[in-house]
Symmetry: none
Subunit: 229 residues, 2 copies
DNA sequence: GCTGGCGTTCAGGTTTCTCTCAGGAAACTG
DNA sequence: CAGTTTCCTGAGAGAAACCTGAACGCCAGC
């Protein structure tokens, strides 16, 4: 099967570029438009497998766009981008079927994970819900993480950090790389927070792992060590 | 495949020349421009496989340039050059979609290694993460170095020095040559530090190697001896 | 309103690294 | 063989990178 097609709808050029670059790098075929009016024609022309749709557009809102898409016969799922203070019922009104939403500002890791989760359900992409890295297993649907037989209890950020590392095993990841992928794109703090969270993860993983799995590569970053298969 | 094309964007002529010469010698097809305005047209005309982009340009900053490149449909990776005292949050947002950054002042070895790492991932250049020189192997992704079956634990500088020597085996490398490639370009200390680091390397390698691998060519420099295959 | 979990910052402590220097060893020169 | 040059390496000062406990504010749920 060819690469899934994704259409991005957002009026902020920064967000559009950020998403376009990231998703292209993930192997998706990406198109983007900046307003609601262009969405309909782009969808009809491209027939994307998924739409990333900002709810607040200058010319029309997510309801109108969705309504018009649905009545035009488009049935593929939509991932909505909403502001954090949007009311819950406004959001639930939008997400029917395989749809989902993430709040702005998001982290890139988050968006990619959600998109894969949706596509896993709608296209028959089997088997990818489970991430396995050595003795650690992570179920992206249930958020269950295990080291050997022991279940790990992680905070949301710990979970995302570990997921990012598990998706890039045996590779040195710099602190800013981690920051860019795991934290929200407008995070404006110090890279020291990565050190803190690495410390938290170690405290939870090391006591039950057979060996230290998170290694420090001084001067370069961190690495999740996974033995060769 | 033809040689990868690289575009260098920096306003300091010294840096431009330094990079141009080095990268041409590495076999890349190199072009260079001095400001942000010229970048767009150069990119569209040349379609480089990678851009080396100084974040601080006189006419516009790296963010603006990147933004305009991305919205012009240019998707190839960018290696950013940033000042070391730029706060980390300025760097944040840069390492997305295969992009990377190095801080000024850099070492030539560093730049070349990063460029190759990026191209390895974006163009399907497989298998080159591993550098092999006789009984020494070096994995550039995991930073793992082995002599035979034994793993070596190296400091960052030791690692870079050994990498440079492994990339130039059976060739006498003068101390100033080593200094130019392994140390940052503005380092103005004594060449004696190379002696120190050669000594460190020997102390770690010789006990587990079958024979002394680093040879002194008195009056000329050092050489990593690798038997013909 | 209270509580507890979470994200974030910060500072002290610790480890590790870089770089310099100087005395001694080795190699070359005449 | 004595003098000279070059190289080797131990010791150590200082800096950088890293780790971690503690504190604070925020927010959700009770």
């Amino acid at each position: 099967m060819a690469n899934p097609k994704i259409l991005i709808v957002d009026d902020e050029p920064n967000i559009r570029d950020l998403l376009t670059t990231t998703l292209r790098f993930q192997g998706f075929a990406v198109q983007s438009v900046s307003n609601g009016a262009g969405t309909i024609s782009a969808v009809l022309a491209e027939e994307p497998d998924l739409i990333v749709l900002d709810v607040m557009l200058p010319d029309m809102n997510g309801f109108s766009v969705t309504k018009r898409l649905r009545s035009a016969g488009y049935t593929s799922p939509i991932l909505f981008l909403t502001a954090k203070d949007d009311t819950q019922d406004k959001i639930t009104g939008l997400t029917v079927g395989g749809d989902d939403y993430v709040t702005k500002p998001f982290s890139l890791d988050e968006i990619v994970a959600r998109i894969n989760a949706i596509l896993r359900r709608t296209m028959a992409k089997e088997e990818e819900a489970m991430i396995i890295a050595g003795e650690i297993t992570m179920d992206q649907d249930t958020h269950e993480v295990k080291v050997g037989e022991n279940t790990l209890d992680l905070s949301p950020t710990e979970f995302k950090l570990l997921r990012y590392m598990m998706l890039n095993p045996n590779r040195v990841l710099s602190k800013s790389q981690i920051l860019d992928h795991v934290w929200e794109y407008d995070f404006n703090g110090d890279a020291g927070i990565v050190e803190s969270y690495i410390s938290y993860l170690r405290r939870k993983i090391d006591p039950i792992a057979s060996e230290p799995l998170i290694q420090t590569k001084r001067g370069f970053g961190y690495m999740l060590r996974v033995p060769k298969p």
